[in-house]
């Protein structure tokens, strides 16, 4: 087969993917970027939608709220998922691992919305947690768990611990047992072996999972809307407010571009730091 035929086959193979990306990502993105430069009811191009974000403290605060919640969710999820994945990979007998993994992904089988409302009922004043704590005497009266930032974080963590467990588990399983044996032969304690050998080798996998968690959490509307009780706004909620009644797509587009910029910055930060493209 000649080089030019190879070239044509290569282009024919890649064209559907390029066309898909062009039609369903590049074109909508350009349209959204263009829309963000108009103002509802106004005429001509302007940066007013971006300026309002930086000058209006309640808009700016939506971003800081989003970053704070997402950072909390990512850190807590990683801290919970790593030992969970470790137990699955090295402690659970191999014949039970498949069942354990299936149980780990069970939460994915239910609707995201239903799961969030279920958490709302669990965390409510008369919910399972408050009732139990009151009944066993730890609390004298129910405390507010639902409709708080903590509820949002709990809802997110419940979901993302499972996602991270899967990515970290896959990473741990790919790791040759010889690394641990070699470290032990050289006199490393199990803790030293973990800290100096295993953890650095699995960090790229952790970062991939953490980045996915960050991206999915910072763009999520459902969980903070249902569990947060709208006591504070995150960026996706602020975007939805622009659309709901007024249909201000220009403002919503500008806020969406800002959200995409934040995600892009996070991506480049992670990619440069840990070379996640090779993970």
């Amino acid at each position: 087969m000649s080089a030019s035929t190879n070239n044509r086959i290569g282009w024919a193979s890649v064209t559907p993917a390029l066309a898909w990306t062009l039609v369903f990502f590049v074109v909508p993105f350009v349209a959204m970027a263009a829309a963000s430069l108009y103002t509802k009811g106004g005429d001509g191009l302007s940066l007013a939608n971006y300026l309002q974000f930086f000058y209006n403290p309640s808009y700016w605060r939506a971003l800081t709220n989003s970053l704070e919640v997402t950072a909390m969710v990512t850190v807590i999820s990683v801290l919970l998922a790593y030992p969970f994945a470790w137990i699955l990979a090295f402690i659970v007998p191999e014949r039970w691992q498949r069942l354990a993994l299936m149980l780990a992904v069970l939460p994915f089988w239910t609707s995201y919305v239903v799961r969030s409302y279920s958490w709302l009922l669990v965390l409510a004043e008369k919910g399972v947690i408050n009732s139990t704590l009151v009944n066993i005497g730890i609390l004298s009266e129910p405390i507010q768990l639902a409709n708080t930032r903590a509820a949002t974080v709990i809802g997110f963590v419940h979901f993302f611990v499972m996602l991270l467990t899967l990515t970290i588990f896959a990473n741990l399983k790919q790791l040759s047992p010889n690394y641990r044996k070699a470290a032990a032969d050289l006199g490393a304690s199990p803790l030293q072996s973990f800290v100096h050998v295993i953890l650095p080798l699995t960090l790229p996998g952790v970062m991939v999972g953490a980045f996915l968690t960050f991206v999915l959490a910072i763009g999520d509307y459902i969980t903070p809307q249902i569990l947060g009780g709208n006591n504070e706004l995150l960026l996706p909620q602020l975007i939805m407010i622009q659309i709901g009644r007024r249909g201000d797509f220009a403002s919503a587009s500008a806020l969406s571009i800002i959200l995409m910029a934040v995600v892009s910055i996070a991506y480049f930060a992670c990619a440069r730091w840990l070379k996640i493209e090779r993970a």
């Binding site: 009922l121 008369k126 709208n230 709901g244 009644r245 249909g247």
Partner: protein
């Protein structure tokens, strides 16, 4: 097979797939009635009698918020939609975009409507009717009478009373709640200007300080039903009536300062391909039977606009039908701000939510 042939076949198969999809979508549109609605119109108990009587299928698509609804229409092909449910105050927005068809008064039971909810100032533009009010109610104080002092609920002052701190939820829709805040400080919803916003904002902040959450429709119902909140700012029959049987302690009041009157209208699309059926649908919804079914929809209850709605005595009692003349006298309309004021009201609302 050469690369060129392969590429051609791939393109041909793609075109064929799109054509099949397009045909099936087109034929579904032509035979059915396509309605952009709020969730109360999705109840099979409402739609089935109309579908059976006319031998057609009513395809419904739910949306929340006029902006989202209009966006759906503008992203559709002309003629894709036949009828739309819309906030009465927003009928004008649809007309300004050239979306709606004129409705003939003599084909609709206008005379049977409660006079206060005909709302010609919103549903008629340049003397022509583009929408008809089908359902209404109040954004007021919804509460659990077993948990609060019912006498307190006769004043909007209860919403900022420290006695109820942490037991209040606020309905997450800025127009009616801003209307309530305005009434609480003695202003009329129809006369609000930008100059009123600082005082309204201050009132909203007081409400927020007393509140546990700012809740959407479902969360509002859940909050009252589960006891998470005892008072709902902006609540009314639309929250309490549907679950009155399960929890008879849920009720609403029209405080001495008044309440905000909400109303929803039906409109027909100018580009509808099925205008006769669309009109029949509007006539059915406005009929005594349709009105009773709409008023008691499984999604949320509300007062039927038609005073001759075929509600039974129990349903009338739950909706407090007999008290409507008094309620309507004391209610004020939704704030209907200009584009600029609307944006500023929304920003005040955003500030209120972000306040800690």
């Amino acid at each position: 097979m050469t690369v060129r042939k392969f590429t051609r076949r791939l393109a041909g198969a793609s075109l064929a797939a799109f054509a099949v999809l397009g045909l099936s979508y087109g034929s579904a549109n032509a035979a059915d009635l396509n309605a952009l609605v709020w969730c109360d119109h999705s109840d099979p108990n409402l739609l089935k009698p109309f579908e059976d009587a006319n031998g057609i299928k009513v395809n419904v698509k739910e949306f929340e918020g006029t902006g989202a609804g209009i966006a759906i229409v503008e992203q559709s092909q002309p003629g894709d939609w036949d009828v739309m449910v819309i906030d009465s105050i927003d009928v004008r927005r649809g007309v300004e975009r050239g979306l709606f068809e004129v409705l003939a008064d003599d084909q609709l039971p206008i005379a049977d409507l409660f006079p206060e909810v005909v709302m010609d100032q919103h549903t008629k533009i340049d003397g022509k009717r583009y929408g008809i009010t089908e359902k209404f109610g109040y954004n007021t104080i919804g509460f659990n009478k077993a948990k609060v002092d019912v006498k307190d609920m006769d004043s909007l002052a209860a919403l900022t009373d420290p006695k109820y701190k942490g037991r209040v939820a606020i309905y997450d829709y800025y127009l009616p709640v801003i209307g309530m805040a305005a009434m609480a400080i003695g202003k009329k919803t129809a006369e609000l200007t930008e100059a009123d916003l600082p005082a309204i904002k201050e009132q909203l902040m007081k409400m927020k300080a007393n509140a546990k959450a700012v809740t959407d429709v479902v969360a509002s119902q859940t909050a009252l039903a589960t006891g998470e909140a005892d008072i709902l700012v902006g609540g009314g029959e639309w929250v309490t009536a549907g679950i009155a049987k399960e929890n008879p302690d849920l009720d609403f009041s029209i405080p001495k300062e008044g309440a905000v009157l909400w109303s929803q209208s039906l409109a027909m699309f100018k580009d509808s391909k099925n205008k006769d059926m669309a009109l029949k649908f509007i006539q059915y919804i406005m009929s005594p039977e349709g009105q009773a079914r709409l008023a008691t929809s499984s999604c949320y209850w509300g007062m039927p606009a038609n005073s001759k709605a075929a509600l039974n005595d129990e349903q009338k009692k739950i909706l407090r039908f007999a008290e409507q003349p008094d309620f309507l006298k004391r209610a004020q309309g939704y704030p209907a701000p200009s584009e600029d004021l609307d944006k500023k009201m929304q920003d005040v609302w955003t500030e209120m939510i972000q306040a800690q």
